[in-house]
């Protein structure tokens, strides 16, 4: 275990101990802030439904993430090749992207229903934009001298894309994919809160209506753990793919 990880874990444990102590000593009522021990106990006793809800949300997030990442990357590569189209399309993309995602959620529910599809579409939308913008930036930020070198070897636009632009853009693409992991969970949960019968977002919404704040916290705990797991997986992938940095 490295020192940074050890310090991070130590800090986390310290925070939990403090949290527990403050809640108990100040006798804070559980609907304001429950103690960590209570959250863990509730999570354990409600593990069945929470795991089902977590699996649903994870499915939506991962499916949307996969679709969005692939579409974003493919679109970025196409626009990197077609300069005139890019100059036409890019301003519109930036405008659409600057509207907060949650604002589109009711439309997604209207068009795609309250099932998993609307969440998958919303996640794919936000992940797609993030990966697209990062990838395009990376694909265009190549050394012109390196492009000239490949052209002197007889490489065409596709050869330059494959052998130079794509590898050059990998660090930027991976940053976009890392940032997207957390966003995909957020968007899946928020869309669930606005309309669904399943998932962690729905669990949180329902528990709030029932004034069951321990269950709210339990769902948040599960969502955080899933999010952390996805983030760690993509970070590990990033270190493998971008090995030269």
């Amino acid at each position: 275990m490295n020192a940074a990880l050890a310090r991070g874990l130590g800090g986390g444990v310290l925070l939990l101990v403090l949290w527990e102590a403050v809640v108990r000593l100040a006798a804070i009522p559980p609907w304001i802030l429950p103690p960590p021990s209570g959250i863990v106990a509730t999570t354990w006793s409600a593990r069945g439904p929470l795991l089902d809800a977590g699996a649903m949300t994870l499915f939506e997030a991962v499916t949307g993430y996969g679709i969005g990442a692939v579409l974003g990357l493919v679109l970025a590569m196409l626009l990197a090749l077609a300069t005139p189209v890019r100059k036409l399309v890019l301003p519109m993309v930036v405008v659409v992207n600057s509207v907060p995602v949650a604002a589109y959620a009711p439309l997604a529910l209207l068009w795609f229903g309250t099932g998993a599809l609307s969440k998958v579409v919303m996640v794919a939308f936000i992940v797609g934009f993030t990966v697209f913008l990062n990838a395009l930036d990376g694909l265009l930020r190549v050394d012109p001298a390196a492009v000239a070198l490949l052209r002197s070897f007889g490489a065409g636009p596709l050869g330059v894309l494959w052998r130079l632009r794509l590898p050059t853009a990998l660090p930027a693409i991976m940053v976009g994919m890392r940032v997207s992991t957390v966003r995909s969970m957020i968007v899946a949960i928020v869309t669930e809160m606005l309309g669904s019968q399943k998932g962690l977002g729905w669990t949180i919404f329902e528990a709030v209506l029932q004034i069951d704040f321990l269950r709210v916290w339990a769902a948040i705990l599960v969502a955080s753990l899933i999010s952390l797991g996805c983030f760690a997986a993509v970070s590990a992938l990033e270190r493998r793919v971008v090995f030269w940095r």
Partner: protein, 277 residues
């Protein structure tokens, strides 16, 4: 000739009888960028197997000339660029090495060396075998699997040169390949390049700022004028080969150097005056 060079020639050379004819011929090549006349009627011929070095004041249009010969830039109409006597597109026909090594950090030494071969569609495995056999000639034995960021400046430059040699074209364009190296490494690389050149037999056009380097390496030194660039002077270097560093202090070497210095100085002053005006 070494085994590796032999093997490479067998694998790659397109089989053409060498003759003392012009490999590259520039006739009245000009280039204008908006209001700036970068090149004005450049006439230059390079014979097959010849090592020509080119010096000139900074901003004299050397890079423009190089980009035209590499096929990356079109010359203005009126002039002609002939490769083997024919006016064809030069893109993909000249082995071009830019000033910076431009090694790709995600490729190891071998895979950087075979980049051009890969672009040409040669099978990777065969190209890697050729590169592996050449590594010793380029002082890279034992470093085949290293990544560029693990190499010294001199080694990186040798990888870039190996990449250029593996792009098996009769004409090589080297743009100040040793400009960024320290003096000692540079002197070693110059001798090494001559050695490699004598074994792989290529026609070379070599840009440099360094007059000693130009004389030490070249069969002929070409001096460019201040902008708009044209050929101011051509000087044959009749010093015997193989050349060794002791040559740099001989009277014959110094006589050529004085002649070239005068020409370069005159052109540099013009550039300087134009900048001050």
């Amino acid at each position: 000739m070494t085994d590796a060079a032999d093997q490479l020639d067998q694998l790659l050379t397109v089989g053409e009888a060498p003759a003392a004819r012009a490999k590259l011929q520039l006739n009245g090549v000009s280039r204008r960028f908006g209001a700036v006349q970068a090149l004005a009627k450049v006439d230059l011929g390079i014979a097959e197997g010849e090592f020509v070095t080119l010096i000139g004041p900074s901003g004299c249009g050397k890079s423009t000339l190089f980009n035209i010969v590499a096929g990356l830039l079109e010359a203005d109409t009126g002039g002609e660029v002939l490769l083997d006597g024919a006016a064809t597109s030069l893109l993909g026909k000249v082995a071009f090495m830019p000033q910076r090594d431009l090694l790709l950090p995600w490729r190891n030494v071998l895979d950087n060396a075979i980049l051009a071969a890969e672009v040409e569609g040669r099978p990777k495995r065969a190209a890697r075998e050729t590169a592996r056999a050449m590594a010793a000639d380029f002082g890279l034995k034992g470093f085949e699997d290293h990544y560029p960021q693990q190499l010294s400046g001199g080694m990186r430059q040798r990888v870039a040169l190996m990449r250029t040699f593996m792009f098996d074209r009769d004409l090589m364009l080297l743009d100040e390949p040793f400009g960024a190296l320290d003096a000692l490494t540079r002197a070693m690389m110059q001798r090494w390049l001559l050695d490699i050149w004598s074994r792989y037999r290529r026609t070379i056009l070599f840009i440099t700022h360094d007059i000693d380097e130009a004389i030490f390496l070249g069969d002929r030194v070409v001096v460019m004028s201040a902008r708009p660039g044209s050929i101011k002077l051509e000087r044959r270097v009749e010093l015997p080969r193989p050349r060794d560093p002791a040559l740099l202090t001989t009277p014959a070497f110094n006589a050529i150097k004085r002649e070239l210095l005068d020409a370069v100085e005159e052109e540099s002053m013009k550039t300087f005056a134009a900048g001050a005006a």
